[in-house]
Symmetry: C2
Amino acid sequence: MPKSQVFSIPALKRMPAYLRELRNLQRAGRPQATSPILAQALRIDAISVRKDLEMIGAIGSPGIGYAVEPLIDKIENFLGWKNASEAFLVGTGHLGTALLGFRGFEDYGLKIIAAFDKGPIPAGTTVHDVPLFDFSEFRHLAGRLQIHMGILCVPDDAAQEVAEQMVDAGIIAIWNFTAHTLQLPENIIRQKVNLAGDFAVLSVRLAARLRELEVVKEETV
Amino acid sequence: MPKSQVFSIPALKRMPAYLRELRNLQRAGRPQATSPILAQALRIDAISVRKDLEMIGAIGSPGIGYAVEPLIDKIENFLGWKNASEAFLVGTGHLGTALLGFRGFEDYGLKIIAAFDKGPIPAGTTVHDVPLFDFSEFRHLAGRLQIHMGILCVPDDAAQEVAEQMVDAGIIAIWNFTAHTLQLPENIIRQKVNLAGDFAVLSVRLAARLRELEVVKEETV
């Protein structure tokens, strides 16, 4: 994979769905997957499937499709999910604690090996079996364990400062679960999940729809 | 608020951040908030702040800004967060269970009042204190309790079928935590959180960056 290559984000986001479908086929004892079969499972068209898979270097045979097992390998390697990605999580409030308890991360090779919060934290403290440390130890541990990915779950108003300290400690990729848009050097990789923001959109739209329905109801009574 | 009004999604997503900042000011005993102060907290410009707040009908006084308490009220009312939104959650695997345990939802007025999964489920079963029912009871309970919002956490390959049944039962808004893009009638409100997809993007980018750094390191040795 040439380092200058640019990947399509929607295609990247579909990779876990391809994996799921291919594993289903594997379990069903099917050695081959055609692009129409994958297309149907993902509810996209077969041309998009072929483009997505070409992006990671997989070319199907005309009329036969893709060999299931090698394609699973290829996608897992592409995503780096064969070797678990290790990450540190910072902020063990409601959301951080929920994420530490979320076993599903392991399905996609993410292993949270330590969590951090403001001290003092008694030695031996764990949250859902993940060891918890004082954030002052973050830099030392990230360096020693060669951790490059951080999951940020601190209160919004602490997000910027904590993220800067994570970057100083060698973190290159931040999964940001705060509502704050981080201002960081260009070369820091970021992915944001804004649950409160998403929920705001959903609730405003629902409230508007319910008012519309109410109007319709009044008019028909 | 006229029912035909269209809201800016980025502005909607900023509303929780305004609320947070206004509550901070309130706690600090500050009765007024100027647009530059809010702009700084949200790291956007003051003109955007004024536009965002105008969208919900709040107009600041020149040189004085906005009265903090009425503005908090206005945003909370706009978001419908004053009266908790009640929702049903379907699918109590890893993610569904984590969400049921996430106390932070209550901060933004979301109350998950029941969870559902495939039966048989013994009477009195709860997950993080939320009562769990057989999905076959969904329609009956949604109608009786007038629930319009559903949180979807089932396995990806069940997402479409379960979502259709939720819609049949009167659900109008679906917060979709599966990787599956739902095919539903236009008038059903949807918000998607694809954690596996987001993580795929993050890990591929991190892997590419680490390869680049490796190349640089080899070249400088």
